[in-house]
Symmetry: C2
Subunit: 234 residues, 2 copies
Amino acid sequence: MADSRAWELVMRRIEDDLASGRLSIGDRLPAERALAAELEVGRSSVREAIRVLEVLGLVRTATGSGPSAGAIVVSRPEGAMGALIRLQVAGRGFDVTHIVSTRVVLEESVVAELAGGGVDLAAPAALLDRMDGTPDRDAFLALDASFHLSLAELSGNSVIAAVMAGLRSSIEGYVLAGADRLDDWPAMAARLQEQHRAILADIDAGDTDTARRHIHDHITGYYAATNLIPTTKA
Amino acid sequence: MADSRAWELVMRRIEDDLASGRLSIGDRLPAERALAAELEVGRSSVREAIRVLEVLGLVRTATGSGPSAGAIVVSRPEGAMGALIRLQVAGRGFDVTHIVSTRVVLEESVVAELAGGGVDLAAPAALLDRMDGTPDRDAFLALDASFHLSLAELSGNSVIAAVMAGLRSSIEGYVLAGADRLDDWPAMAARLQEQHRAILADIDAGDTDTARRHIHDHITGYYAATNLIPTTKA
DNA sequence: CGTATGATGTGGTCAGACCACAGGAGGATC
DNA sequence: GATCCTCCTGTGGTCTGACCACATCATACG
């Protein structure tokens, strides 16, 4: 995720200023020409960055002169819409923690319920096998989503299954955004598969507590590895 | 939403082509220079539009020549991230239905549980009163979200409450996106308040079925009125 | 004191020029 | 004939410089 393109550098810079507090809501950005000079890029690159930030709702522009002109920082990293959008664009974290904690709560109860009754884990196991033969990252992650969803369905808790189905695409978005930030995808895929199989083994053995812990680490570990949430040791 | 700016015109044009099927996934866009000539705008305007579409995931760019170069239509209405993004930018509907149905499932069970036991509805009622004195749309909707969330918390179902809390900002995003498409906001606000109070009355009266129906209509009605989901009569 | 009027600075746009890169065409080589 | 290499072409990415329309503000004028 290097700022290979000039406009990305500009955008990143502005976002950094916003995240670090150098820019606050309502502050006025330097003029496009000044920004271009300062960052040593062309004005067109600055404009492309501003355009993106404007569409993202981070900045508002106005023509003319005086205090009300120029590009002004408006919105905040608040709101899932903003967070999702920023995530995809800038690869930043913000409040992904929300959805991650939601996932953890849901999936922990899923595996707990599964570990209780003797269910047939053939379907999720088959998905794992398919994933082993899927080097393509995005295809792998789609199967991964199916795997987690199949667990939810097997749990018999229809509410959780429905919620997770509804969340599927959101979660996939975060997961993909995170994957973009990984250097060594094959290593991560191997790690995920290892954890997946450990969880299935836990369920099969009826070891509720271990299953909870494993799925907790599985989920938070992924987001932590992708730097989407703060790394937490516990 | 006039295409007052040239780059908006370009973006809209491409989005229209995509929506109408004139452009399909994988199709290659004309070269930037050709597009500029065709639409009679400058290349920089085309670039700003392309930049936005790229960030939105609708288009992919690559340098060089040959079939793999140029801007290529790529992503689709799939995924909540894409849906949210398209929604905000293009005002189009796509698959909001997913999150709406999730909300309905969740909130129906919430009011059902509330109608069962005798809980203190003072907190949500107070929120409704505050909303009456809140003409500002966004502030009103923020309170609205708090209202629904307070119901979830009162229900005592911690899983649902957690999920709804996690979803809050996502839902708010959709709700706001929908509100943008309403002509007469005050009328909608009044209608929402009427429905809110009816639901509280249902809960107070212990009328589970009516409460379910009312909250169902309340939620689906809003999204239908904003044309975010197909209008369904039932 | 109030009202025109011009100066100033801003975003919005355009045209033209490079650059780096990917792919294909076509020749050189075996 | 098949293979490799080289050059050419077209593309996005960028920069520069130039206008324009517009909002604001200082100034001059009545």
